[in-house]
């Protein structure tokens, strides 16, 4: 009884406080998992977003006001993401929110942002087949990462593919796309295996790989599982020559966790590497290391989070307002020189043009680019420009 009444009095927050652009600051939300299984990845994205906010402030802020980040913990729990998104919008009255990593967290937040007509900037490559009017996607959609990776494998003459993935939406949708591509391009899928998120036992799958002898393994495992998978692959005697793999969720941060000695020589597909050439990236890497430590690495999702802040600031400046509809309207066509190169917002689907890059993992843990798409690829979340993908998005 006592605790119940205590709760009620404690709950009655003062509704008069807050206000996104009141006073001299503009509040922006930063919502990532700071605890739970996803924390290891998402904390780095939060850090790069805070770095970008700092840089925007150092350059005078947005519309003459400084940005004030409001950080919340999504706790690797999808309903928590929805709750905290609601809190940022309703209580903190943030002008926009940067956040999310897993598809599940995005799907959980999507109705919240649509219901409140608020903005979310989502910084991670994902499975496509989505285009919310209240989300900007600064990571790759499938035609900027998975399809180019398949083009590359085809060019290299790899005919048979074995699919290994974590059991959730991104790998399953990605594999659906890979199978459609393979069928249309004379490649064959010789196996498809899923393991629960966080799984660490891969001897059975490694045995199956040994029997199937595919030309390449397409790896969509996420998080810790990669450590176990690559170690067990190696201890079973397979090397990058006898069992080559291409991964779409292993970046510099994860290579460090797996141990470069276990994964050197394998391929990855992203839009940015720490080694990507250009003065803007040199600056970014330098600034990140200066703020967080010389041993830290930068990776694609971190860069996409950093980009999101810069792109939003540019859109708000162009709009002359942080009001959601005005920012949305101003965003289309904005082009910035960012660490990965030139990035342009596609006003229609609110994704960005990105250069696709295939990289080879080096013994020092860095990734060397071995192929790129030459120019930024137009985002096509529903794969409408690909005849073989007809029917996937139905």
């Amino acid at each position: 009884m006592l605790s119940a009444s205590l709760l009620l009095t404690g709950c009655a927050d003062d509704p008069s406080q807050g206000g996104g652009s009141s006073g001299d600051t503009i509040k922006v939300g930063v919502l990532h998992s700071l605890s739970g299984t996803m924390a290891i990845s998402e904390v780095t994205v939060r850090d790069s977003e805070l770095l970008a906010i700092e840089e925007v402030n150092a350059a005078g802020g947005v519309l003459g006001k400084k940005l004030e980040p409001v950080v919340e913990d999504g706790a690797s729990d999808w309903p928590t993401f929805a709750e905290k998104a609601q809190k940022l919008i309703n209580e903190d009255k943030v002008a926009t929110t940067f956040g999310g990593w897993t598809s599940a967290s995005r799907k959980a937040m999507l109705p919240v942002f649509e219901r409140n007509k608020a903005l979310l900037w989502y910084p991670v490559q994902y499975e496509g087949l989505e285009s919310s009017p209240y989300i900007f996607y600064t990571g790759a959609t499938t035609n900027q990462q998975i399809v180019p990776a398949l083009d590359y494998l085809k060019e290299q003459g790899r005919k048979s593919v074995f699919l290994v993935g974590s059991d959730y939406v991104f790998p399953r949708t990605a594999n659906k796309i890979i199978k459609a591509y393979a069928e249309a391009n004379g490649m064959s899928v010789v196996g498809e295996e899923y393991t629960p998120l966080g799984n660490t036992e891969y001897s059975t799958i490694v045995n199956k790989l040994g029997q199937a002898k595919p030309d390449v393994v397409f790896n969509t495992l996420n998080g810790d599982s990669n450590v176990a998978f690559f170690k067990q692959l190696r201890s079973a005697g397979f090397t990058d020559k006898t069992m080559p793999t291409v991964s779409v969720s292993v970046a510099e941060e994860e290579v460090g966790g797996i141990g470069p000695e276990n994964i050197a020589g394998h391929l990855v597909a992203w839009n940015y590497y720490q080694t990507t050439e250009g003065a803007t990236n040199t600056e970014f890497v330098k600034a990140y290391k200066a703020k967080y430590g010389a041993t830290k690495v930068t990776s694609d999702p971190m860069e996409a989070g950093y980009n999101a802040v810069k792109l939003w600031a540019a859109a708000a400046t162009k709009a002359g307002s942080v009001e959601v509809e005005a920012v949305k309207k101003a965003a289309g066509g904005i082009a910035l020189d960012l660490p990965e190169g030139k990035v342009t917002i596609d006003g229609e689907n609110q994704h960005v043009y990105k250069t696709a890059r295939i990289g080879l993992i080096q013994p020092d843990g860095q990734i060397k680019e071995v192929w790129n798409s030459g120019q930024p690829v137009k985002p096509d979340p529903y794969l409408k420009g690909y005849p073989w993908a007809a029917g996937l998005a139905s």
């Binding site: 605790s3 119940a4 205590l6 709950c11 950080v71 919340e72 709750e83 939406v169 399953r172």
Partner: protein, 363 residues
């Protein structure tokens, strides 16, 4: 006599406060309170099964999930419209509505299933394991394994269940528009009423002859068996009632939170349901409800105040309660009241009716 009066007054005060909350809280805080109240409905069931029946159920999330999915399936179908597929099925490559989903288009069927599915599972499971005289830690481990297995099943059947994403994006709930604050207030009041009815219903059950039998079995199962009762049946009924309450709570949780994922019903979620009850005091229904509200409120406030280290604060709170108030806050309140009464009236008349723990009974 005065104590009952005080308890009654407190009950009315809390009821009035809860009913007045829509006037006092911002829509966001009201939504959170509605969510806590859903957990409180589960807590009433746990207080019955665990506090009175001695069944440490670590799998209450399963029943919560069964009720929730029954409701979620119906809402998804109602929203998609006849002949249309729910959104997640199209991106999971399902082309035709699965057979399992079809009857859930009917609102009456779905509402019945909200209770029937969890109760049936609890009845079958209860009869099976209580007849085998599985109890204590073995029962706890079994229910926890059930929660773990249920999550793996849900995640694995993505086309059927939405996988890890679960079911998301609900706009309508039996005519209520969940995008409107006014309609959400109605939903909140529905939850308050359901909680009130669950509380009164279980209180009635606890005070009945059946309730006494349940406590007797908790404290000495074999003795009750020798008296000619069937403990397995008595325990199964309490377990099934708690499962039914969890199912109803799950069904109400779906429109409030707007999504249901396997993370809401796994091992961790089931444990959190239990922790609230442990903090409040499992031997008291009011304690279980209050503890659950307090625990979830604290979780929200801690994570908002210290996004980087809130889990440590929450853990410390739990440890503190276990150390200094093993019978929960309600137990602590009882002790204080007894102590105060003893000091005020030295010759201490009949002490208030405190439900004794098994440890105390044995002592």
């Amino acid at each position: 006599m005065t104590l009952t009066w005080a308890k009654r007054a407190a009950f009315v005060a809390v009821a009035v406060l809860l009913l007045a909350a829509p006037l006092l809280l911002t829509p966001f805080r009201l939504d959170l309170l509605a969510k806590y109240l859903c957990y409180a409905i589960v807590a009433v069931g746990i207080a019955l099964a665990w506090g009175r029946g001695g069944m440490l159920t670590l799998g209450q999330g399963v029943f919560f999930g069964l009720g929730g999915y029954a409701m979620g399936m119906h809402l998804k179908l109602a929203e998609a419209g006849p002949g249309q597929l729910p959104d997640f099925m199209s991106w999971s490559g399902v082309e035709e509505l699965p057979l399992l989903w079809r009857p859930f288009a009917d609102p009456v069927f779905a509402l019945v299933m909200v209770v029937v599915m969890p109760v049936t599972v609890a009845l079958l499971l209860g009869l099976l394991i209580f007849r085998q005289r599985v109890r204590g830690a073995y029962f706890a481990v079994l229910t926890q394994a059930l929660a773990a297995a249920f999550v793996i099943l849900l995640v694995g059947q993505q086309g059927l269940t939405g996988g890890t994403n679960g079911l998301t994006d609900f706009q309508y709930f039996f005519g209520l528009d969940l995008y409107e604050d006014a309609d959400r207030r109605i939903l909140y009041l529905v939850i308050v009423i359901v909680l009130g009815l669950s509380y009164l219903g279980v209180r009635q059950l606890v005070r009945s002859r059946y309730g006494q039998l349940l406590v007797a079995i908790r404290d000495g199962e074999d003795r009750v068996r020798f008296l000619g009762y069937d403990p397995a049946l008595v325990k199964t009924i309490a377990f099934a009632v708690s499962a039914g309450l969890a199912g109803i709570a799950g069904a109400l949780f779906v429109p409030v939170v707007g999504l249901l994922t396997p993370a809401n019903l796994g091992v961790v979620a089931s444990l959190e349901l239990l922790i609230g009850v442990a903090i409040g005091g499992r031997y008291s229904l009011a304690g279980a409800v209050g503890g659950t509200l307090l625990f979830n409120y604290a979780k929200t406030i801690f994570s908002e105040s210290w996004p980087d280290g809130w889990l440590y604060v929450q853990g410390a709170l739990f440890v503190a309660v276990l150390l200094w108030a093993p019978r929960g806050l309600a137990g602590l309140a009882d002790q204080l009241r007894t102590a105060v009464a003893a000091r005020r009236r030295p010759p201490a008349p009949a002490s208030p009716p405190v439900i004794k723990t098994p440890e105390e009974v044995r002592a």
